[in-house]
């Protein structure tokens, strides 16, 4: 696994809708910019060797870092794979849609649900939004949220950006009815 750069991002919201958010609402992201394991190989039918060689290591690297950046227990989480222009979206999906990747985060956060994800292909500097949902019950509506990320010089055409996101709370000023409680 070849990692060029690790990016850490935190956003603290102190005011939303003109009203104070206390404590401030934090969402954290940690991203690794990795070489696409299948770069230059043409269409690779069986991706398992590349997945086995990278996915677990990347998950083990990112999971503790994103929780450290968050600084509080995670209540919501999500993940991302942004493939450089020479790669297939399937390459990014391969690295993040495996238990070998996600279980590092799930175990570290005491989480049980599926990690919501964004997978896309783009140039360096592409903007992407990571969706987050509650770590033990994906129907908890207060915790549906997303965080916007952009890395100026990544991904290069033969790279993939792999990221994890964690939130310490739901949306600031969340006040929607709980799932399935609406008046019909």
């Amino acid at each position: 696994m070849s990692i060029r750069k690790i990016v850490t991002l935190t956003e603290d919201v102190l005011i939303e809708g003109g009203r104070e958010v206390s404590p401030a609402a934090r969402v954290a992201v940690v991203a690794a910019i990795v070489k696409n394991p299948w770069a230059g190989q043409g269409f690779v039918e069986d991706l398992s060797a590349g997945i086995d060689g990278s996915a677990s290591d990347i998950g083990a690297l990112l999971a503790p870092r994103v929780l450290e950046a968050l600084g509080s227990p995670a209540e919501a989480y999500g993940k991302a794979a942004i493939v450089g222009l020479n790669g297939e979206i399937e390459h990014g999906s391969g690295l993040i849609h495996t238990l070998a990747f996600g279980n590092h985060f799930r175990d570290a956060a005491n989480a049980t649900t599926l990690l919501p994800a964004v997978e896309k292909r783009g140039p360096a500097g592409v903007v992407f939004d990571i969706p987050l949902k509650h770590i033990t019950d994906a129907t908890i509506r207060s915790h549906h949220q997303s965080i916007e990320v952009r890395i100026n010089d990544a991904p290069h055409a033969d790279e993939i950006v792999i990221a994890l996101a964690a939130a310490a709370q739901g949306r600031p000023q969340q006040r929607l009815a709980a799932f399935a409680t609406e008046t019909k």
């Binding site: 070849s2 990692i3 060029r4 750069k5 690790i6 990016v7 850490t8 991002l9 935190t10 956003e11 603290d12 919201v13 102190l14 005011i15 939303e16 104070e20 401030a24 500097g125 903007v127 916007e148 952009r150 890395i151 100026n152």
Partner: protein, 203 residues
């Protein structure tokens, strides 16, 4: 100190890049570059181009210096780890460029940044007016010896939803080391370079 909310800080964003490989090789001296950005309401909206900006500068700029230096020092391993710094302001489209300049180019910001970061250099900067989501390249140089060429570097800052037209984003940047693979000499090793020493190349 008054609360952050009292000065209208809507959001604080921290962004850091740790370079493990550059041109395929690990930097001999690893470094983390980072920005801390605060989104504040522009206190001078609707004012006149001749208005005195001082009262708000005195109230707001020191609070931003304190907050942003705290965020960077806490994340980068303390003040001692910080070797280079820089600053920036992005004014929303309802404001004047001068409003951003007011928050970063007076002693009420710069002197406090130098004091908290234990630096002596003039702080290099970038100012702009733009819509939310604009990118701005923040220059950094050595906090005690600005002409130290190894530490000339930049980091790009951006917040997706700021500045709103009535807001200002104030940014402080820092680095814990030099550029990866810095190898372009310095002022002590440079040859004498003038147009006539270069001859035909520039004739």
């Amino acid at each position: 100190m008054m609360s952050d909310q009292g000065f209208g800080i809507r959001k604080i964003v921290y962004y850091a890049e740790e370079i493990l490989l550059e041109n395929g090789t690990s930097p001999a001296v690893p470094a983390v570059r980072a920005t801390a950005a605060a989104v504040v309401t522009n206190p001078w909206l609707g004012g006149d181009a001749a208005d005195d900006l001082n009262d708000e500068v005195v109230q707001l700029a020191p609070v931003l210096a304190r907050k942003l230096t705290d965020v960077l020092a806490a994340n980068l391993g303390g003040v001692e780890a910080i070797q280079a710094f820089g600053k920036a302001a992005i004014v929303g489209t309802d404001g004047e460029i001068e409003h951003g300049a007011a928050l970063v180019h007076t002693p009420f910001f710069g002197n406090l940044v130098r004091e908290y970061f234990e630096g002596e250099s003039i702080i290099c900067f970038a100012d702009d007016r733009a819509d939310a989501g604009a990118t701005l390249v923040v220059p950094l140089w050595h906090k005690n010896a600005a002409a130290t060429r190894t530490h000339y570097q930049t980091i790009t800052t951006r917040i997706g939803d700021a500045p709103r037209p009535g807001e200002i984003v104030v940014v402080l940047g820092a680095s814990t080391g030099p550029r990866p693979h810095s190898r372009i000499g310095d002022r002590l090793t440079d040859p004498i370079v003038k147009a006539d020493t270069l001859g035909e190349l520039v004739s």
